[in-house]
Symmetry: D2
Subunit: 216 residues, 4 copies
């Protein structure tokens, strides 16, 4: 079994809770109040900024030039691609990038990004990249889990949002990150990787929960 | 008004909630179940380790040699002084340093220390040292707030714990940290300092709450 | 006067020595032994890798999202653009990327990149980006200084190399870095910026001198 | 053979050159011009400051609490012990700590400390601590190599300086660092450790040479 698959298997209880969290479920079903979605988008924009910073640190600390370049690619795709997508979303909700930038990060967002950034800055490269995976991968899995609900979703915004995580471009990005994790040398202590993977998975759940409850 | 006083004033709502949190109140009154205290001590040990790492990063990034040496002193006092105190506490509860080291950090602990370490590693030195202050200072304020309850506390362990934070040695440590904050140049954007001070204050509250509820 | 111009003016003695260093002069005149150029290219490849890591750290530490994205762009252009150019050069000299990767860095290269990376990691963002400027800017100035010699250069490889630093794409890159420096707030202590700018300028001179003398 | 011994053996050519460098030789013989010694002391003070910062970063990144505490001890001994010794030396040469702080670092000093700090910040902990060893260890070896010359040294300052590196306190410090290196796990790639050990050894030689030639 690939390392990434083993990590996911060891976190499956949390991932299964994520798939059926009311925010996620109602988003795919189209019944989520738009106010909550709006709150989420503004917070997720802030997460994305920190996530790009995180990939930048990992690029700086990558052991080979090949992996360094792969991480620069990931940071660039995120900074140019996903950001542009966000600008579109924000516009459709009558929000601007400035609104997003001025939005105060919720405590759960500060916690999650603090964990990612401190891991990448101070621990090993291997732990850093492993901690970054659950976010990107779980979005693809969530979209796949609820795939059949999307065509019937009455909210055009939610529909568009959902389809993004099924597109090849997005899956390519996930695979790029997964590949770097799968290349971690087999003698690296598995427990350390499992710890950061599970910790990030918990933060994913907490993030959905915090935005659903609009918890500052 | 000194910068530290201004920051404390701007966080007073959270600090007042901390003073009267059931964990804190019952600890000073002697009515806290020992199981909860035990849980707290093991978690606080883990916090302390990260806190020493945090002061080390700040020492490395201090602008002057004087401040660098002050921070090495703080890290050393913590690593040698407070740690030794912990060893005593642990022994009295039939626990060892190994128990503490093997204890898994609660998510709130991971969040708080991730915030501190990522701030000190990536943001300005000024934000880093300001984020480190609420923990140390609030313990002194808590002990002072409940000062009159200590003599009547029936639990010898709690009594000993409480008196530690009223001792001159501890107050000196707090003053050392406060002094570095008070020396931040006056043109440094206050909003950034306030943001990290309040964020740490919130984590202090969350930490007490998590250990009271033994929330993993 | 713009900050970048002031910094360059305060380093002009070193820059003038760079313009007329025998390696530089003979490269533009076409009289440089190819062995020395080969040695340079392999070393410069290694410098470039560290330089991209350096821009990545700066991206992670940028104060605004705007500047973070600008730095991700710079790292990406370098990782994809200039690298591809190098691959071409190496091929023409019957060298491979693997040759470049396996090449041991000269001590001056270790010194220069250690200075850049430690500044960006531990000092202020402002000092980090200022230290990164002399390399990119001086190449444009060198090419401009020797501009008239290029058409008559008999060595096709040197000609191609030289023209690259006069192209708009390259000048755009230099301007992107210069712009970030010029946006440093005016109350930032000039002496600190001057110190890192001059230090990097000295390393530029030392680098040309080390490769000319093939000094390991 | 212990890892540290193997590293030293693989660097013996450089170490042997250090032992007999004119600065070193003349210092132990008492024939070194005091102006050169003065220049050295002011530069070495600056090195020491960066070295303490370096041990602080390593403390922050240590894998176990035990090693973290050992590194805090080392930083503290350096910050309080060796610094105090310097103050004495400076006084005897009619210099103050302020003179030392205001002294501009020579380029070789910037290079050496940039290498140490960037290695400790961005590479593995193992490479960081290995790079820190040659400085401390080589001073003990130098003093031992020239041990017989010390009693006859006519310069009281040089004599005092030389005896410091034969004292148990100093040798304890060296052994503390050596022990952390010797505990590196045996599957850590030796080549990486050798590379940083040799690079630092070269910087040691360059440092003696730069101060001997008062090369700014």
């Amino acid at each position: 079994m690939k390392l990434s698959e083993r990590l996911k298997k060891d976190s499956e209880k949390i991932w299964e809770k994520i798939y059926v969290h009311p925010f996620v479920k109602r988003l795919f079903e189209g019944s989520l109040p738009e106010r909550k979605f709006r709150f989420y988008i503004l917070q997720d924009y802030n997460y994305l900024v920190s996530s790009i910073r995180n990939f930048s640190i990992l690029a700086a600390r990558a052991k080979s030039e090949k992996v360094m370049k792969e991480l620069i690619d990931i940071a660039y795709i995120e900074a140019r691609g996903e950001f542009e997508g966000y600008k579109n979303f924000l516009e459709k909700m009558n929000l601007t990038i400035e609104d997003a930038e001025n939005q105060k990060q919720i405590q759960t967002g500060i916690s999650y990004t603090g964990f990612l950034l401190s891991t990448s800055s101070l621990k090993s490269f291997e732990e850093g990249i492993t901690a970054a995976l659950p976010c990107y991968w779980s979005y693809a899995e969530i979209a796949n889990f609820h795939r059949k609900k999307i065509p019937g979703n009455k909210n055009e915004l939610y529909k568009k949002w959902a389809y993004y995580y099924l597109e090849n471009d997005y899956l390519d990005l996930v695979n790029k990150i997964k590949k770097i994790v799968d290349e971690i040398e087999s003698d690296f202590p598995y427990d350390k990787l499992k710890h950061v993977f599970i910790t990030s998975s918990k933060y994913e759940y907490m993030f959905w929960d915090s935005v659903y409850n609009e918890k500052v």
